[in-house]
């Protein structure tokens, strides 16, 4: 290994592909996007530098941005909390059952591998007044709400509906991460705890939870970033409507960039999104303390 590390040419050869890809596919476009965020640019004419005008409009005038920020924050908190709890509960339950573990694991994970666009359309049909749940409720004489159109309340009903669908879709992913970590915990630790009189719940509380904390931080970061850049389900279920009430940062960015061709303004939203992702990841890594234990 030491010999290999001394061979600088080999290092260059192996690092070059990743370096080039990262530079030209990620780093350069990010820099370009940040530059465009200071421009008025519609892709059809040359970018015109306008300083902080886009950001000024974004934070002082744009009503949709306020709604999108609120919805993105709701999505972030909802996703991180519910996926943490539901993922842990499912992982805890499935590691403690012997019969049907693989079956349920696959069942819970299945939505993760399905196309979000297809699922979004499917759920949109389910919540459409003329086709889905409301027709079932009508059989019992219940008039269902407008699941995807109601606009009452601080967090409107469609946001709760979409967030729940997202939880259903992605909880399997969190569950798998936690299960992978749990399966790495030595069974001797549990056996010792049972000898000392621990119940299963106590062993989960005092052995499993502390030992999977590194994965909790990772899963929370992934969930948080995923929630912040969440797009496909919302776009397919509501397209941000009615009247932008279900817009999040990503759908707002899409509309400004690809519907109204305000690429400079959309780049400013993208930059805000990037900064938010960095801040949230920093906060999670800072406050979720990770101790390394011998497992």
């Amino acid at each position: 290994m030491d010999k290999f590390l001394r061979d600088k040419k080999a290092i260059v050869v192996f690092v070059a592909p990743a370096f080039l890809l990262f530079t030209f596919v990620l780093f350069v476009p990010i820099c370009q996007s940040v530059y465009y965020s200071f421009c008025e640019y519609n892709a059809l004419t040359a970018p015109k530098f306008i300083g902080f005008e886009n950001y000024k409009q974004l934070f002082t005038i744009d009503r949709t941005m306020k709604i999108a920020l609120k919805n993105s924050m709701f999505f972030l908190i909802f996703s991180v909390v519910t996926q943490l709890v539901a993922g842990l509960v499912l992982a805890g339950l499935l590691t403690n059952i012997k019969k049907g573990r693989d079956f349920f694991k696959n069942v819970y994970y299945l939505p993760c591998v399905l196309s979000s666009a297809a699922l979004g359309l499917l759920w949109m049909f389910v919540f459409t007044p003329k086709l889905g749940i409301n027709q079932v409720l009508a059989q019992f004489g219940i008039e269902g709400p407008l699941w995807l159109m109601d606009t009452k309340g601080f967090i409107i009903l469609p946001m709760w509906v979409i967030a729940s669908v997202a939880l259903w879709q992605y909880v399997g992913q969190s569950m798998m991460l936690y299960m992978a970590q749990i399966s790495g915990i030595s069974s001797s630790l549990y056996e010792a705890s049972y000898i000392d009189g621990c119940t299963r719940v106590q062993s989960f509380r005092y052995i499993t939870l502390p030992l999977i904390r590194p994965m909790v931080a990772t899963a929370m970061s992934l969930n948080a970033i995923g929630a912040l850049k969440f797009f496909d389900l919302i776009f397919n279920m509501t397209e941000g409507g009615p009247n932008h009430m279900t817009d999040v940062l990503a759908t707002h960015l899409y509309q400004q960039g690809f519907k109204y061709f305000k690429y400079g303004y959309a780049s400013a939203i993208g930059t805000v999104l990037l900064v938010l992702c960095l801040i949230v990841t920093f906060i999670i890594n800072k406050f979720v303390k990770v101790d390394n234990y011998e497992m």
């Binding site: 050869v13 459409t128 007044p129």
Partner: protein, 453 residues
């Protein structure tokens, strides 16, 4: 040494395989599968599909960008366009050949703009008049077609001559060619009207409300509309604004306001008539709302005449029960919309593009537009009215007796974003936002995005 070489080779292969994925997209001039092969491919593959290239080395290849998948479409107008392309390629075999770049409507302008930004503007592209066309006229992307239209009397074949190009003319120059016209009318179920005791069609606002009241009393849903597809509700709002004398040009220039009493009155009318909508209007899409009509669950549908093909195609028995009248109280003004073709200012094959455009406005294509597509032809072509859908004759009556036409409200505003904001505001007001509050948000939008630009 061998290991190093192997490492270099593997790394090169990795990079090449990654970069290979970046190439080729959007290369519309590459040879494509033959038409019969293409037909058997799935719809995803058809997204940037091309027609079979003609044989021969001196063929002038041009590209046409369109907003529907010509292989998978069931839309009768799109099918007519497909026939036109095939006809052109056959007639000009060995001289010109058109390759079609297709995408879905939702992504159309985004993809077109991406091509324009990349310096690969299609030689010819379809576009809606209004702010969508402004985007290509202002920076000089669309070519001035005036001389081509006037050169050999082509312009004289259009109904109304130069007047047919009012929505495509900028500073006296014509930048796009209309292919057909659709008029927004009120479609109604004649049997329901008869059962409700309505013998004469409403001609004013009160008459429309009275008809709704009678229909409701007779146990029918008076009006089906979609607020889930915002432009449908916005079309009704556009008619109401126009009937109240709202001057969009004055609003765009800042000499009138969205808070003026005529806009408030129009919006109050929207709220007033909304009690006659089907209960699920807020969530229904355009297709569902239209289906409510042809499935005889509602008595009236306010829609463009493009819906005729959908109505008759979905329920052929309904054609004989379907009547049409002009939206009441507009003083003879009708909302009209056209598909138009523009030519790239940078095309190196203008003659081929013009020849291609002419195929869309020749007698064969225009007859098809009326007799099969159910839209109003733009030329003076004579078509067999007995072959055309029954409703087209009613629409032609409405259109023929109209004093003037105006565009869709959302396509007549300063920008596409302003149009979308208007649509959303109308939906929001329908869903319960107070009229003054909704219009104030529209006023704010104009202050920040239109009037200060």
């Amino acid at each position: 040494m061998k290991k190093r070489m192997l490492s270099v080779l593997i790394s090169t292969a990795m990079i090449a395989s990654v970069l290979a994925g970046c190439g080729g997209g959007g290369d519309t001039s590459a040879p494509a599968p033959a038409a019969d092969e293409g037909a058997s491919q799935d719809t995803a593959a058809a997204e940037t599909e091309t027609q079979a290239p003609a044989a021969g080395g001196d063929v002038e290849e041009i590209t046409w960008m369109f907003w529907d998948d010509l292989n998978a479409t069931e839309d009768l107008i799109s099918i007519g366009y497909r026939d036109t392309v095939e006809r052109f390629n056959k007639d000009y075999e060995g001289k010109y050949h058109v390759n079609v770049v297709t995408t879905n409507l939702e992504e159309y302008y985004a993809k077109l703009n991406a091509l324009v930004a990349a310096g690969e503007t299609p030689d010819c592209f379809i576009v809606s008049p209004g702010p969508n066309l402004d985007v290509y006229v202002d920076p000089g992307i669309a070519a001035d077609l005036t001389d081509y239209l006037k050169a050999d009397g082509w312009i004289d074949t259009f109904n109304g001559g130069e007047g047919a190009f009012s929505q495509q003319t900028y500073d006296g120059k014509i930048y796009a060619v209309p292919l057909n016209i659709a008029a927004a009318c009120v479609f109604y179920n004649t049997e329901m009207f008869e059962a409700a005791g309505i013998s004469t069609m409403p001609t004013d606002w009160q008459g429309l409300l009275d008809a709704c009241e009678k229909l409701q009393a007779a146990g029918y849903t008076p009006l089906t509309i979609s607020a889930g597809t915002a432009w449908c509700l916005s079309m009704l709002a556009g008619y109401l604004c126009d009937s109240e004398g709202v001057d969009l040009a004055a609003i765009d220039s800042g000499s009138a306001s969205w808070l003026d009493s005529n806009v408030v009155n129009a919006t109050n009318k929207l709220v007033e008539i909304s009690k006659y909508f089907q209960p699920t209007a807020a969530g229904d899409t355009n297709d569902v709302a239209t289906a409510n009509f042809y499935n005889e669950e509602a008595a009236m549908l306010i829609q463009g005449s493009w819906a005729i093909a959908q109505i008759n195609g979905s329920n052929p028995d309904f054609e004989s029960k379907c009547g049409v009248f002009a939206f009441p109280g507009t003083d003879g003004r009708v909302i009209a919309k056209s598909d138009s073709l523009a030519m790239s200012a940078k095309t190196t094959h203008p003659d081929a593009v013009i020849a291609f455009m002419k195929y869309f406005t020749d007698d064969t294509a225009q007859k098809y537009t009326a007799e099969v597509g159910g839209k109003i032809p733009v030329t003076t072509v004579e078509y067999d009215a007995s072959k055309a859908p029954a409703q087209l004759a009613y629409v032609m009556d409405v259109f023929g007796s109209a004093k003037s036409t105006f565009g869709f409200y959302n396509e007549s505003m300063a920008t596409t974003e302003a149009g979308a904001f208007f649509d959303d505001t109308m939906v929001s007001i329908y869903l319960g936002t107070p009229v003054e509050e909704g219009l104030a948000s529209l006023e704010d939008f104009y202050k920040n995005n239109v009037w200060n630009k």
